[in-house]
Symmetry: D2
Subunit: 346 residues, 4 copies
């Protein structure tokens, strides 16, 4: 019997205020395809929050669809995107980007983050015409392994991209978690200012579905809706996502929910540390990767859901634990107690 | 001040039972990516309804995404899809099918429906290798102009496709309306039996979003989920569509809602006929195309929403009126009265 | 025993001066990928001939590869190309253009030529974002059915395209034949001036292989070589095409060869007319489409190669006869005599 | 003044016997698109040589076009190709494979060759549906850095591929050089038997252009010509390549020419060794990568053409030298003498 699953941050439905808003607005007739009042209100909220009245905002149903749509809208046929080898587009989107015709140039990085130093060698191409031309740098914040960019790192990357005529695109499927992590010093406005295009993940932050793409670079705005419709990313009832973001953005609800998830992940992390265990990656976001003895894991997994990420040595493995807006603190407490008890056995 | 919009069938939210089910299930943890209990229940309902336990069922967020996904999963690079010139993929999907690399061979047909006779000339290709190879026949039921296929027509088409090694794919964005039209003699099981793959539209039939793809041809089933993930069509919270179809399929709710829409469209149609007006197309589904004097249209449009479809002559135009599960009968009555009053003026 | 084949204009090798030039230059070391001296000389010849020192010229191995390369280099994902239903890209390239992701919007035209009037309806799209956006107009000169554009027609088309922000692209696989037809009033410089990009066909005009793409519109020049390499259209030994165009452009050899082909086609055409037969299309280029009694065709085909194009009525069919730079006049004379003799029989 | 260029193996034209054959056959009328007598004769020669009467053979104009065509014809949208990080498709084809929609999974290998051990980790994918599915293993023989596969290595790879349902595709742009290298123990028949599809490079082995694709796996044969036409890889005058392979295959001319190139490369290699220099890679094919002092390189490059491949340390760099069927022995002797003289200076 599983007490609680920490397998991912999309096991539950959505924040109750969204269900209430869906119910209240249900029979009000609205325009389709993203021209409804709720979507427009959500767009205004984002523009206010980042202080950019000209930002283009589009609401898309999911992360892979968003990634392929944004990249296909930017890249010419011979242009490539640079990404970490751990990047979601590199590993877990079934070749979605290549299916739009574009090469991902994968860069090895141990912490899931890109730096100018890591990107430079990729730009050094030869001979002309015979290689792809790097055009976009794709980063995730938080990354797929829980780490986050600080302001200095993102600023360096942003400047490097500008100097090298590269577009900086941030996959923000877990951006609310990143921006509410204890060590974070970035604001949403910083992100908007330092990237050319980014998105705020709704699916993993309290919505049923939906990612809000924000385009701040003027050259990328034109005709985006054509791309959106072509890739099947323009929903007839755009309101279904619009209402959700409209709610999540009220009173910073989306960030409060992310902070809740982070707090609980940190609680687990602290216990893991106290017990003398280490981590695969340094994370204060909602994904942590404790390295535990296999014997401990074997016991825990009878009562809690989580991924066994990878073996570290003969006796220990890294696991992935994820908390969310919906994770109950009492379940975290149960887990912590069980972890302590089991650890005492050896 | 607009009294009511008959512009389309996606102006409202969803049937209240869906909101209730979303609320009740909200905090129950479920697997992601379509492996949740609600999706599995919805799949069972569809299999029961069509009497095919081996049918593959996948829930997709919207119609264009479904069309491009299904066709990209079937067609080899040099194969084409045959469609009516009025087909949704031919006209209103921003080249989504071509963007997956495939030619649509468009056939002119006045009633939006394909027949073996219309398809035959397309198969007559020459010389070998220099032309695309037709592989799929795409039809819509109801069509984009409100007409529906009867059992004889669909059977003829089905047999012709089998004889010519063609896959028959039905876009069922408005299938519930077609199957509940007064003149319909097809069952859902017939549709499943006579096509190789089809879908049941949720978005236009009472859901917030979602189309249920049903694959009955064994050769098309393998690896569909790879295609689904690659095209961005696999939602993390698959439950968000699963719950909706699970509700809509209970007690044939989806068909009851469609019948409601058809009844109201028929009520308007009868009035139009009584007043001596004609129609652009013959339709007893939820989309009708009355031809009205421009003078009448100019008055009506001040109070009701609808599309002015196309001019018919100097003084008359066809309009498109669409009813839905959410259309209130009293608003239809108001419209009918207004139409009668205005028509008296001349 | 077939005396001579008039089936197409690519049945023989190449003009002997090309073989001589290949032999003389054979062991001279040259740069690869189109940077050899012969290619550069050919480019200079074309630039001189059209009076445009800034024209970009690229040599490509064949027509389909050229068409897909040029269009893929111009079109954004959601943009389309408008072409005649008889256009080579529409019918005989196995979906090559769609395979690059783009829709061809086919326009019906009885003489294979496009006009502003034929294009206008295609531009009238609605609603925004839901349809492809026409961007290129593709024409062939001579067309696939032997007709040619005159200066007035091409000028009208050119102006219309400029007014509507459309790129005009001429497939010139048989351009030398068009420009040397008796009724032609266009120069190569006119073609360069009135289009944005066009090509001069080598394969059908005396070369073993090769088409010379000429880009005069500045906005289309950048990065073309990236597209060229990506599509497999940049030959390591670019000299192999360079030498051929270098020879064909000396003393207008390519046009003299085309004039020879036209003269012989006209000779056949005149006989057909004298004998009281008609034609499927009006052509004074090197492709003619006589309509002959099936009884005559049955006799002729025992001695001569040609396509039976299509039945015209129960007793008569159109055939396609093609002459080339290599067609011997004595074989044409034999054909003419045989046609006269056979026609006398009935 | 450059005495001779060793920059690549495509600086000259073609073997004189090809020019003679082109001349002799020039006015003989032949069918187009690869159905000519010369192509058919070349196909028979290859089938005889590999002892497989059912092998499908197609002649393509160049290497990149061949690679993208073969891979696009095999791979389903979600399938990937595994290649060495140094593979031509990985580095020097401007994203040609990705432009057909497929991911290349690049494997690091120091000698340019793949082994089962290197491939195994790529096959270990998780979770299902979320990653591409590896389907083809692409290898080059000789590799891009001059190394070759021996029979044991190719057999191991072949067996591994069969066990894992992977297609083995050999890029043979320099296959004749590989098969005539001193250390080679593979025959052309071995290659045909151990791979599913491979090609024999003509461009770098004495032809003006052309690669001969040989498909031995029955499941890959069907409809190849449709793919060929669609990618612009079916030449109207197929004879232009057919004649060349027909000549090159007579009396094993292509292998004699390759042996000539290898002998001269070995002569240079021996001198480099005698002088105490080392190499970047171990090669007895026609590409060698000596590591020379920069001071020596600076002198040599005034008289000979070659690539400076990469710096090895502050004072030394690897260069790439390539010999070909056309390399004159006396130029090699001059180079050797100069290398000896220059090396004495320090």
């Amino acid at each position: 019997m599983i007490i609680h699953s920490f397998t991912n941050d999309y096991s539950e439905g959505c924040h109750p205020s969204i269900l209430q808003a869906l119910t209240e607005s249900n029979l009000i007739q609205q325009s389709g395809y993203g021209d409804d009042a709720y979507t427009l209100s959500a767009i205004r909220s984002i523009r206010n929050k980042i202080g950019d009245d000209n930002a283009e905002v589009h609401l898309i149903s999911g992360g892979t669809l968003t990634n392929l749509l944004v990249l296909a809208s930017i890249l010419k046929p011979f242009e490539s995107v640079i990404a970490a080898q751990t990047g979601h587009i590199s590993t877990h989107e079934t070749g979605a980007i290549e299916a739009t015709g574009h090469k991902i140039e994968e860069v090895f990085t141990s912490d899931g983050k890109l730096t100018p130093e890591l990107i430079k060698p990729v730009l050094n191409k030869f001979p002309e015409y015979h290689t792809v031309k790097p055009r976009v740098v794709y980063i995730s914040n938080s990354t797929e392994i829980g780490t986050i960019y600080n302001k200095k790192e993102l600023t360096d990357l942003s400047e490097f991209c500008k100097e090298n005529d590269l577009i900086l695109f941030m996959d923000g499927a877990r951006l609310p978690s990143a921006l509410t992590a204890a060590s974070n010093d970035l604001t949403l406005a910083d992100v908007a200012h330092l990237t050319d295009v980014f998105y705020i993940g709704g699916t993993k932050s309290g919505a049923l579905l939906g990612e809000a793409v924000v385009i701040t670079n003027d050259t990328l705005k034109k005709d985006f809706k054509y791309h959106q419709k072509q890739r099947g990313a323009m929903m007839a009832k755009g309101r279904a996502i619009g209402i959700q973001f409209d709610q999540l953005l009220k009173d910073d609800l989306i960030f409060k929910l992310a902070a809740h998830a982070n707090t609980l992940a940190t609680k687990i992390r602290n216990t893991v540390e106290e017990l003398g265990y280490s981590f695969l990656t340094e994370s204060d976001s909602n994904q942590i990767f404790p390295i535990l003895p296999n014997k401990v894991i074997d016991k825990l997994i009878l009562k809690y859901g989580f991924y066994i990420w990878e073996p570290v040595d003969a006796d220990n493995s890294a696991i992935r634990m994820v908390t969310s807006w919906a994770t109950p603190e009492d379940k975290v407490n149960l887990f912590i107690n069980d972890l302590k008890e089991i650890s005492k056995l050896w």
